[in-house]
Symmetry: C2
Subunit: 518 residues, 2 copies
């Protein structure tokens, strides 16, 4: 317990006493007392982002890998607003975050000063839980509640709005006592029995998986369960965190495009969602179904994101009599160095050959990333983090957070060019904190996904429309951008030079960017 | 009238028929039909930003200079979220904007796909008016209403949420008929009489000004009115657009820091707000008043932002018998080239000497900008745009919009380093559109304003806290950043080299960035 002098000190003491160790921030005047309080807490690391999208995306990456929250510290409504897109991604990923937003002093809020805004309004769409502190004596209790809320199943965004006078006013209320987070909901035996009956029926069953079901232990249970019937296990198209590689259970994904997803699920009699919900299309397309459970098939939800996924898997395995079955595990595939044309495929081949043991892959490679998962399935064991909410600009920041959470593991960020420009400022934080992140930047000089989507939605683009998808006028120089923010970088144009560049990047104990011209 | 085929075509036809000529956008899949419709409208220029903060900030700069709206086209909730901070600034500036946000198809919204979010929730804090289109047949009418709402006094953010199926479905409803915007409210004769009596009393009166009162004609009325009593005319600390320089009326500003503002207003018996509201402090500080009207003084609001400011000024001048008084106008001050140390002051001296006639200055220079207004008051006639809402990252984007609105005028962006990193991607759009913007980037390698504020709020920062205000680890290379996005740039370290660099920058018919090391 640290001696508490004002509300800001009480908040920091409460957070550290409740296990929060990292604060990602871009503060302003209204947060100065909170910033000053950082120096009172040896157990709180504070990391500056040059833009709040970097801050919140880093908190997302951190929470996914640490399994507990970082806190943010954001400047009023506009600071929060800049971080909303990556909070949206984090909410879809069920990442625990204590999201702290400074506010004008309580007596200043009604005056409509330039920075006054409806902070609760901005925060509501991305928050599972929101509290506004009204006096310094409440800071500690609300801080402890926020940590508990963030850790409640399945992981939540807990937003604390903290007026400046609640920070600077004195308080004798010491650090808030720990509160137990809400545990996952137990799954009823009737639901277990229904799923078991479906699998036992011999009919074709698809398991759609996310959350704890796609970590290493969950996937082993899935593999056992799959052995009991005619079962296809599929991951959600985008997953918060999935265990992959040597010694793990291979997990194909539900394809991104609705037609391909429907083809994959064709002939399935049951779709059983575990740690997720029944499948829906990412976007609507004219004339294509939005709900992807095939007509005539039955959708079951064995366990939603907030349910006890591991408990449900264990009971289902038990009901199927496969608790002691041996899961089917991948073994390491030896891969040669690629030659010739540099493509996402040859880059993936190089990555599969060189990926360090226990690496963390952050995937925001968009179209360039489609080919990479199957080609790296047999690489060294690693964790893989996806863009869960579709709000681009997650890759560079999430790599920051993953590297902070796991300083002994290499982070590899597979990054599309267009998405990179959303939060390119994050490279500076990687340099500042000397984070062990190798960024593989696929530069195709366009929003390639939209060129595909244009055709799929049935629109008929002319030259003005196509110009809105073009990033080549002028070309962006990602090596120059990285170097200008202190990150070592090089550009490559062949598979051979990529292979060598990747070796150099992975050997560096710090950030490195490889611009892959495809 | 253009032939209309689907909802997207109807929206574009309606916008162009109602005078909207520019679309700033970063679209996604759900907006592809709107993007395709751009090619049907020769009168709509479409400009791509690499991030939505660039898009909305450009729309703000455009609206301030054009006096009519640009439209945006943003991708779902997260795309809007990324643009909220600059919409906040635009709302505080009373800038007309038609803010178009794509949404999932109406039948897809309830499925909680990855990009599903509460768009109305995100939009509400920054929007004066919001409509969600529910069918293609309503597109044209809602589009026309949106233009009228944006142009209603004093200028508003009108947000249209447009589901994808309202874009792709056919409609026979042609372009929406123009709707008259809501005119400014007339000011009652009682209010005019009260203000006139205050001025006639001979007591010390402060006029606090914004909106139409600080454009060239408004300031001439203010000058006449000031001649009728013991009157001090002051602009709001931050102004949407103010006319300055040779041939204009000089306008000092209410100081940013509350103590200085209170000192400026000391001894005033009346504070009369015109085109604004009575003064409040930007932030709250312990022990300092938030409301800046001095104790014992009376605050009057002659005209709020939505009132008929020019009518009120004319009636007040008439009531005071000064309608035909001669306003006091500035004349051009000849300034020598600066020598020696490069500071904001010597840079301002060089700018005053070289500023082109009818330039537009976009000011987001933070502490580096404090000294510049008085030193450039006697420069060539120009317009000056401030950061109205305190949400940093407005400078580079607003310069884009001003340059698009006024292609025959030079735009000069006075830009702080920390703020620049919020929307640095905007330099690429300046290069792409060959916009005539000279950026003067003051690189002091810190959030200097926060170092000042730390002392003022009474916090006691230690080394961790001070590290959160430091931008020098590693140094940012703004020349490299600009060049990597296609913008010509150079770095200067002396007043003499700045003077020559500014001459080069102003001579270029396109974007140019000068990194000023201070």
């Amino acid at each position: 317990m640290t001696e508490t002098r004002n509300g800001a000190d009480a908040l920091l003491a409460t957070l550290t006493d409740n296990g929060v160790e990292v604060c990602f921030t871009n503060p302003g005047t209204s947060e100065m007392h909170f910033v000053a309080a950082l120096d009172q807490q040896d157990n709180m690391r504070s990391i500056l982002g040059l833009f709040e999208g970097v801050v919140t995306g880093a908190a997302d990456g951190y929470g996914r890998m640490a399994g507990k929250p970082a806190c943010t510290l954001l400047h009023l409504g506009p600071g929060l607003a800049n971080g909303l897109a990556n909070l949206h991604n984090a909410k879809k990923a069920c990442t625990p975050i204590v999201n702290i937003v400074g506010e004008h002093a309580t007596y200043h809020r009604h005056l409509d000063a330039p920075l006054t805004s409806d902070i609760t309004g901005f925060a509501s769409p991305v928050s599972d839980w929101i509290r506004t502190i009204e006096k310094a004596d409440d800071v500690a209790a609300i801080g402890a509640e926020a940590v508990a809320a963030s850790m409640s199943a399945p992981g939540q965004i807990a937003t604390v709005i903290a007026p400046a006078d609640t920070a600077w006013n004195p308080t004798t209320h010491q650090s808030g006592a720990s509160i137990a987070p809400q545990a996952p909901n137990a799954v009823s035996s009737a639901v277990i029995a229904e799923a078991a009956a479906a699998i036992k029926s011999g009919a074709k069953v698809a398991l759609l998986l996310n959350g704890a079901a796609v970590l290493a232990d969950g996937l082993e249970q899935v593999s056992r369960i799959a052995s009991a019937g005619n079962v296809m296990a599929l991951g959600d198209t985008f997953i918060s965190r999935v265990a992959r590689g040597d010694g793990r259970v291979e997990l194909p994904r539900l394809p991104y495009f609705a037609e391909e997803a429907l083809a994959t699920l064709d002939g399935v009699a049951y779709v059983i969602a575990i740690g997720t919900k029944p499948p829906v299309s990412f976007f609507a397309y004219p004339g294509i179904a939005s709900e992807l459970t095939p007509p005539g098939a039955k959708a079951l939800q064995l366990a939603g994101p907030a349910d006890d996924v591991m408990g449900a898997l264990a009971e289902l395995a038990d009901a199927l009599g496969v608790t002691h079955a041996k899961p089917t595990l991948l073994t390491r595939t030896e891969v040669n160095a690629p030659r010739g044309t540099l493509t996402p495929e040859t880059a993936a081949q190089s990555l599969a050959a060189q990926l360090p043991d226990q690496a963390i892959i952050v995937n925001e490679a968009a179209t360039s990333g489609f080919a990479i998962p199957p080609l790296t399935a047999g690489a060294a064991p690693h964790d893989w983090l996806d863009l869960t909410g579709g709000a681009i600009g997650m890759g560079i920041p999430a790599a920051i957070g993953a590297a902070v959470a796991c300083p002994d593991r290499k982070v590899v960020n597979l990054q599309a060019d267009g998405s990179a420009m959303y939060t390119i400022q994050g490279l500076w934080t990687q340099a500042r904190e000397k984070l062990d992140v190798t960024t593989i930047l696929f530069n195709n000089r366009k929003y390639a996904i939209l060129q595909v989507e244009f055709m799929r939605v049935g629109a008929n683009p002319g030259p003005k429309a196509m110009d809105m998808l073009d990033l080549s006028r002028p070309d962006l120089n990602f090596v120059g951008l990285a170097q200008s923010m202190g990150v070592e970088a090089e550009q490559v144009t062949t598979a051979e030079t990529f292979h060598k560049a990747l070796a150099r990047g992975l050997a560096v104990d710090g950030p490195y960017l490889i611009e892959v011209m495809i």
